[in-house]
Amino acid sequence: MAHQGRMGGLVPKAAVLLLLMCAVSSADTIMCNGKYNLFAGTILPLVAGATAVTIVLIAGSFMFGTATSNPKLTLWAKTEIVQLIISLAAISIIMLAVTTFCNLDMKEVADIFGLSGTHPSMNVYDAAKDYLNGAAQYSHNALRMVRYHLEGYTVLSYLNAFMCDFKLGRIGLGCLFGYSGNTEQPFGGYGADIAALNIFFNGMIMAHFTALNFLFILLFIYKGFVFLFLPLGIFLRSLPYMRPVGSALIAIALSFLTIYPFTLAVFNLMGDTLLDRATGYAPAGVNMDKYDESVFPDSANAGSQMGISIGGESVAKCAYFGNDKGVCIAAAVAADFAAAGLLGGLDSSFFDEVENPAGAIMFSAYAFIAAVFFPTAALLASLASVSYMARMMGEEIDLSRITQLV
């Protein structure tokens, strides 16, 4: 009688479940905007197939147990049918969450909380992707700025000058009959800059790769994760000794399909501060157009390269760090030839918009927070959720070790 009562209590649960399942019909795309509907087209048939196989297995066991009067088998079958319903309930919750997230406009969420700044109108899944794209772009911009400085300083620090004796301006008569004069490295002293920037160059490579890694995890979740985990989870939860594995798969799918994107979407709303979105994914005052990715400042023009190479130390510096390279080089030629010694006299006002190693270091620190710290926090939140959900299904799963991948 007690058992009948328990089964009877399942009927209203099944009704609620059906209500939840109805909501799935409005989930119209793969993570809302894809070309085909992964859920309706692929996941649901697979889940249905796994459910059918499991039901057949359970029904077969029940019939075989009844035929052979084996109470162990019939009891197992009755227990498993309850577990099957729990699995289906978990999946219906996932689908309900996906539907909700597809229809939730993060701009409206920002408006509800009165967040200032610009917030694009997009759903949770797109907002999560947008954050990681932004973090990748932001860390890449930081990497670009640091790399540019490193390249410039490395080239300049190897520049050697030979000043012939008996100078007439830049020309020295001491070299007419031999090789008499002084040698100097006018920009040899970039060791402190290079040492400081090297750390951040390595850090930014890691940060950029970490952002890409989190982005790939997100895309994998969108396009392949549930495809395998949900049907397999349902099936495995019904097999003897395999329930922990099945529970883990469902809990992971549930967490990573809901908590991970949602947490990232929340961070995306903080993008004006975290990613400097309002100033083009770079801190205020940093103009990324000044930091191109060519190895030589004017790599397309051999004449220009030669001119810069032999133009003198100030011309070389202007080629890398001049605010306006043309103006800077013209001033450098005049200053170099007017001066008897090296470093003829261009002050920092010719370079201060481009040469900014301290700014590059600060930018890198910001990028580390945006591309490593916060995405890792999103991952940690998802792992916390996995543990909690698995506990709800009666299993203890500790995935904290996975953070060592970070």
């Binding site: 209203p12 609620v16 002084n182 040899g188 800059d193 400081a196 710290f373 959720s385």
Partner: protein, 369 residues
């Protein structure tokens, strides 16, 4: 139940600004739970009703945490802003931001000074001379004495850059805590924590918000308090002699130390000093920049700044004394302080998520330190 309703009604009145948002989030949670309870009642599902009741206790727990947070925040604000900081902030988040910004400006100045000195020293170290007529002659590096200095200067630049980056990262965290912690992350965490399925994430967001809002600024400010105490102790009459130079140099680090011009063919100067048997050179115990500017005049054995080795040695002595002034700023204030604040934050996240019902292993975040 009546008491509960009364408490809910007076909750928004007790708070202001972010507290009002948090109060609204709690009201939202209670409303959602009421809906769940009604669905359970309508469909006759006892489990749903029981779940709604159970969750209500969780909301009450969050409310208690919030009350505790408001109380702690007020107490900490009083403690931290009453200390004689030069800033004008009325709360500890603003005070922490002011401290960090001020510290970063100092570190940036030191970093730029180091760059400047490095440029000058390396220029002197690179100098060499050749005298060659009709393929007969010699080359020499009369400024070789300066080449011992760029390597430690690179290391100093490395440390200064690291400190600058660390402070910038802390500033960004405090900016986020000011703009989003309480206004956005906490209320969202409260709403998420209402449901069993999202309790882990909700607990994490609450823990992150509180840790960012309270523990990061608290760590920064308390470290600064200790730093100020240390500085005051350093200037007291009874302070040990070893400590005084460090403290005395503090605050005098804005001007670039002078680097003397080296003559690349100054062979007679080198030879003269060697032949005179100048012997070992002891750097003076001088600690002020004014003294350091004339260091060559009283370095024993150098006899003024006539020769290249005198200039190189004087530059070395000057940098040795000068960099001691950086140590306190770089190692204690700019490096140790943020590390303590970050460790407090990660420990706070772990403890608070544990209280919130979903413990998060924050070793990944701690590893960033």
């Amino acid at each position: 139940m009546k008491r509960m309703l009364l408490l809910l009604l007076i909750l928004p009145l007790a708070f202001a600004q972010w507290e009002a948002t948090a109060g609204l989030a709690i009201m939202t949670s209670v409303t959602l739970l009421a809906v769940v309870y009604m669905i359970g009642m309508g469909f006759g599902v006892n489990e749903l009703q029981m779940m709604a009741k159970e969750e209500l206790f969780q909301v009450i727990a969050v409310m208690l945490m919030l009350v505790l947070l408001v109380g702690s925040d007020n107490i900490l604000n009083v403690i931290t802003t009453n200390v004689a900081f030069k800033g004008t902030s009325t709360n500890m988040q603003g005070a922490a931001l002011e401290i960090l910004t001020d510290m970063r400006n100092q570190v940036e100045t030191v970093f730029n000074t180091l760059r400047d000195v490095d440029h000058q020293v390396a220029l002197q170290a690179s100098k060499g001379g050749s005298c060659n007529v009709l393929q007969v002659g010699y080359s020499m590096s009369g400024c070789g004495g300066f080449s011992m200095l760029p390597t430690p200067l690179s290391m100093a630049g490395n440390i200064a850059g690291f400190a600058l980056g660390e402070l910038s990262a802390m500033i960004r965290l405090v900016q986020i805590c000011q703009n989003y912690s309480m206004q956005f992350l906490l209320p969202l965490g409260i709403v998420l924590r209402t449901f069993k399925l999202t309790r882990g994430a909700g607990g994490f967001l609450i823990a992150l918000a509180i840790s960012l809002y309270l523990l990061v600024p608290m760590g920064v400010i308390f470290n600064e308090m200790m730093a100020l105490t240390f500085l005051k102790a350093g200037t007291a009459a009874d302070t040990s002699a070893e400590l005084k130079p460090l403290v005395k140099m503090y605050g005098e680090t804005t001007a670039s130390p002078p680097v003397e011009e080296c003559n690349e063919l100054d062979a007679p100067g080198i030879m003269g000093n060697l032949m005179a048997g100048a012997g070992a050179v002891d750097c003076p115990a001088s600690t002020t920049l004014a003294d350091l500017g004339n260091i060559g005049a009283f370095v024993p054995g150098l006899g003024g700044l006539d020769s290249n080795d005198a200039k190189a040695t004087a530059t070395y002595c000057m940098l040795r004394a000068y960099t001691r002034g950086y140590l306190y700023l770089m190692l204690i204030r700019a490096t140790l302080g943020p590390v303590i604040a970050l460790l407090m934050m990660s420990a706070g996240i772990r403890t608070l998520t544990s209280i919130a019902g979903a413990e998060v292993d924050v070793s990944a975040i701690s590893r960033f330190v």
